[in-house]
């Protein structure tokens, strides 16, 4: 029997047993569909987390103050100390080649403008911040060196802060905002980085670092130093150089007692990725169980079919069907069922993903690999669960099969 004949016979059988084939296929559709939905939700979550982390900077290394140890047993929280200074930032910038350095000093303040007000993050920083932290300007300009040197009262608003103060999408450049007791002139609006909720990078106001130190916070310390390594490969060595430099500058001989800590973007990405990967695997394996149930459904239907079609099998054998013809016929039916089920599952999954992305706002991603894998898996399920019924059919004796009532 040729391959074409085999397909033709299979489709003929399906078209004569639409309801049953359809219901059996449904088991596979649901199984396959849920596996890919879970995988695509997981991959989507992973991609969005990576995007968010990428958005905080390029090859970013963040130096933060460590716990303050002012002699004695008590230790302040990590990041609370005032051990990092502008001078540390300048030293990193001048002594480590190829890096860009953006120290920053953050606080939260109530900000008002023409009767509206909001509580937002104020970031005092320097012009290099745009490169180090991947910030782009939407309108106006970012802080310049001159403004920083002269402690100008200028402010660059994040889009969320702008929306809160001046209304969504309003042109705010040239307007004034009051931060604490000082009045700042708005000189620019940054482009949205996306993100929402607690740690929204768009809900921020950038002012010159020196202005921050003079008018809002006092002192010359900084709350963190962002360092952008020249390439991803250089990150480890840059991180080591910063550690050595700061240990030396802070006169600390034992690295375990360092009064600062260094985070690097790669570590954050890999930690976050491994979490989402585990979640994806968990979701997919739960969905895999429904696929298994679907496969058992296929086997059940095929066994029923073999019993029901015993006389047909006997007839086919008596007119010259070989064992292999019979077993191929039944295998082809089960593989075709799972294959079609897989295809429908993928199509349904596409629709569900679009719904998820639009309604829940959760990004999903269907990768080519997962589609190919699904087809392979569904064909495999067809073979595995169709093999036993097919073999049973092929081994029927033609005489017994013909006599079967």
């Amino acid at each position: 029997m040729s391959f074409r004949d085999l397909l033709e016979q299979t489709f003929w059988f399906f078209s004569n047993n639409k309801v049953r084939s359809g219901l059996t296929m449904l088991g596979i559709v649901v199984g396959i569909g849920s596996v890919i939905v879970m995988i695509s939700v997981g991959e989507g979550a992973q991609a969005s987390i990576q995007d968010r982390i990428q958005a905080i900077g390029s090859n970013l290394i963040i130096v933060m103050p460590g716990a303050s140890r002012s002699g004695g047993f008590f230790s302040g929280g990590r990041g609370s100390a005032q051990t990092l200074t502008q001078a540390d930032a300048d030293a990193i910038s001048s002594q480590i080649s190829g890096v860009q350095v953006a120290p920053e000093l953050d606080t939260r303040k109530q900000v008002t403008a023409k009767g509206t007000n909001t509580n937002t993050q104020i970031i005092g920083t320097v012009p290099t911040y745009t490169d180090v932290r991947n910030v782009s300007i939407d309108s106006g300009s970012f802080i310049t060196d001159n403004e920083n040197k002269s402690s100008s009262k200028v402010a660059v608003l994040g889009p969320s802060a702008r929306d809160d103060l001046f209304g969504t999408g309003a042109g705010a450049v040239g307007q004034e905002v009051r931060i604490g007791s000082a009045v700042f002139k708005v000189i620019g609006i940054t482009q949205s980085k996306g993100g929402s909720g607690f740690n929204n990078p768009d809900d921020a106001i950038y002012i010159p670092l020196s202005t921050m130190q003079h008018f809002l916070m006092g002192g010359s310390y900084v709350s963190s130093i962002g360092v952008s390594a020249p390439s991803q490969d250089a990150m480890a060595s840059v991180q080591q150089q910063i550690t050595d430099l700061l240990l030396q500058r802070h006169k600390i001989s034992n690295p375990a007692l360092a009064d600062f800590s260094i985070m690097n973007q790669n570590d954050i990405i890999s930690t976050a990725s491994s979490v989402t990967k585990t979640l994806t695997e968990l979701l997919a394996s739960i969905a895999g169980i429904s696929l298994l149930v679907g496969g058992i459904g296929i086997m059940n239907m095929m066994l029923t079919t073999v019993t029901e079609r015993t006389r047909e099998i006997g007839l086919r054998k008596s007119v010259g069907a070989k064992k292999s013809d019979i077993s191929l016929q039944f295998l082809s039916e089960s593989v075709m069922l799972t294959f079609l089920g897989g295809a429908i599952g993928i199509v349904l999954d596409g629709i569900v993903s679009i719904i998820i992305a639009n309604v829940i706002g959760m990004p999903t991603a269907i990768s080519l690999i997962s589609v190919i894998a699904v087809f392979a898996v569904s064909a495999l399920i067809g073979i595995v669960f169709g093999y036993y019924p097919a073999r049973r059919a092929a081994n029927l004796s033609p005489i017994v099969a013909l006599r079967y009532e």
Binding site: Q9, K317, S318, V319
Partner: protein, 250 residues
């Protein structure tokens, strides 16, 4: 054409051994129309399975066109059935949801006939059985019993086999369609095909040229039917003999 030498067939189930055939020898020449007659349990169905290469004898030899079927494996037996033997069954055994053409082309699926020629061959075979062309695209379960059996005969003919084996082909038919079907067999015979017909009815056997009678797994009678097979009428001779035998055994 067919040569059976001391064929026995035993079935073992548990401790009991059933002897279905206890040493049967005969031969059938090309172009013969032979009826094998006997009551149920006489071993005629078992004999038919062996003649149809569906089963292999426990001992003895069955030669089909000089080939000992015991030497063939499963696939070769399937191939032999496909090329040389056409079956006609009592219960027709058509695929109920398939149309007439699909039913008749079924054996060609397992042959080397290219797909393009199959329908043509099926139509030729159907025309020979006298089934009206308007039925060719009907589903087989929409046809009458007589029409169904003619479709089944066309299916047996479509591979152009040298041997047609019919097992009670008129068992499910009324006497009028029975006559039509038997005349179809006679016509096939007159076209030079070997036909072996299994029946328990003397009236049906009377259409054949030669009648082999079986009882208890043995061949008890083998005689020619005189003028039967030419006139299209049962030979009175055979009917009388069969009835006489019935009375004797009663």
């Amino acid at each position: 054409m067919i040569e059976c030498i001391e064929i026995t067939k035993k079935y073992v189930s548990g401790d009991t051994e059933t002897v279905a055939l206890a040493g049967v020898s005969f031969s059938i020449n090309e172009d013969e129309f032979v009826a094998i007659i006997g009551p149920s349990g006489s071993g005629k169905s078992t004999l038919m399975h062996i003649l149809g290469a569906l089963d292999i004898p426990t001992s003895g030899q069955f030669l089909l066109e000089g080939q000992d079927v015991a030497d063939l494996d499963d696939d070769e037996l399937a191939d032999l059935r496909n090329r040389k033997i056409g079956f006609v069954f009592q219960s027709f055994n058509l695929l109920p949801r398939a149309n007439v053409i699909r039913n008749v082309t079924l054996p060609l699926l397992y042959s080397k006939v290219p797909p393009g020629r199959r329908e043509e061959l099926a139509r030729e075979a159907l025309v020979k059985t006298g089934l009206g062309e308007d039925s060719f695209n009907k589903r087989s379960n929409q046809l009458s019993g007589g029409q169904q059996q003619r479709v089944a005969i066309a299916r047996a003919l479509v591979t152009n086999p040298s041997l047609i084996l019919a097992d009670e082909p008129t068992g499910n038919l009324d006497s009028k369609t029975e006559k039509v079907v038997m005349q179809t067999f006679q016509q096939m015979h007159s076209e030079g095909r070997t036909i072996v017909l299994i029946t328990h009815e003397a009236e049906i056997a009377a259409y054949a040229q030669r009648v082999i009678t079986m009882r208890d797994g043995r061949l008890v009678d083998d005689r020619l039917n005189g003028d039967a097979g030419k006139t299209g009428k049962p030979s009175q001779d055979t009917v009388a003999t069969a009835e006489a035998e019935k009375e004797m055994s009663a």
